[in-house]
Symmetry: C2
Subunit: 196 residues, 2 copies
DNA sequence: AGGATCTGACAACAGTTGTAGTCAACCGAG
DNA sequence: CTCGGTTGACTACAACTGTTGTCAGATCCT
């Protein structure tokens, strides 16, 4: 009887809770130790669960990594959508989007590192072609007003690279700059890209 | 007697030759399989040498990886220096530099991947802070004509990121564009960065 | 209380890693 | 021909990996 209550909660509840603990542990490890440190055993240690429960929620190590990445990606997407909605001018749209993204990764640098670095470093993600930045880049490209197909793609790829690099440098402390100035510069990059 | 000849060559000669074979194998693996595939054993297999000779030339796996990276970095630096020397105008300097870099990585994509990706993916490089792009970025920053210290740094970091991303996309085939157009666009990026 | 279910600690498997050591075979100088 | 430097194949070790299995004990329903 699967709906039977246990220690106050149902089985499905506890199972879901364990899944969340594993996801949280995966986010922590992938965002700090990086891909190599995110092993099944390490995740289980951090989540204070045994391997048995890992394979209860995920068939693979790969599935966990992908789930973590997509989880963070969804948060970023949602933050961007919320920020862009109801923005009157394109300039404000750019500013709001950049600000939302900066807030996300300053608030939790692990998410920034996962979003920006993990797809480059983890075979589980590269093999699946799980790379959200190109998706965001494509969205940006559609917003561009000038140029043909190829031109817009070139601009979008370059813009995403510029933003990523600035964010990464800011994250690891090698770019000492105030948060406001970071936002202002990124907004300028976005707006400048549209004007070629 | 270390200078004693053996099979026609001296010991030091053969030792240096083996070091080169190991470096070449490291370049091949790091530039294709990536960091994870570049193990001591894999390098030795590829170089057709045994582990003993690995530790004859390098104390660590880390030392080999760093040596490969710095080797490629030196080639890139030299190519850029050669390209920029004797360029009459800033515009031609930018074009020559970009063209030289594109030639380098189109000629041998492994070098491009090592230069652009390895420092992000290999702990042996990140741990040592071995990342040459910031160095290049600093050089670029010095060439910029406008802005204060921080501004130039922001612009330089962004520019390097944009170029890297475009190159990476071009390398892995996700950016279908002619080589000439790639060069032209990158030149435009460089020149555009100087004009804010 | 009995019996079904759930839990957690652990062992086992075969594989890879970095690093070090052993040992027979080879090769050229004296 | 013998001696010592040189070679390469091989083994050894401890630590890790992903994955699956076992088993004693806790927990709850009837």
């Amino acid at each position: 009887m699967p709906g039977r209550t246990w220690a106050g909660t149902t089985l499905d509840d506890r199972k879901a809770l364990r899944r969340e603990q594993l996801l949280a542990a995966g986010l922590e490890l992938l965002g700090t130790e990086g891909s190599a440190g995110t092993s099944v055993r390490a995740v289980c240690r951090r989540a204070k669960l045994t391997e048995r429960y890992f394979y209860e929620s995920f068939t693979d190590r790969e599935e966990l990594v992908a789930a973590v990445y997509e989880h963070v990606g969804e948060q970023a997407r949602q933050a961007l959508v919320d920020a862009v909605r109801d923005a009157p001018s394109p300039a404000l749209r750019a500013e709001n989007a950049v600000r939302a993204f900066v807030e996300l990764i300053v608030d939790d640098p692990r998410k920034g590192r996962i979003l920006l670095l993990a797809p480059l470093t983890d075979p589980a993600l590269t093999r699946r072609g799980l790379h959200l930045l190109p998706v965001f880049a494509a969205l940006v490209g559609e917003q561009l007003s000038h140029g043909d197909e190829t031109e817009r793609r070139l601009v979008a790829v370059g813009l995403v690279g510029a933003l990523s690099n600035v964010f990464i440098a800011y994250l690891d402390g090698s770019l000492k700059v105030s948060r406001e100035r970071l936002v202002a510069h990124c907004v300028k990059l976005v707006l400048g890209a549209d004007a070629h």
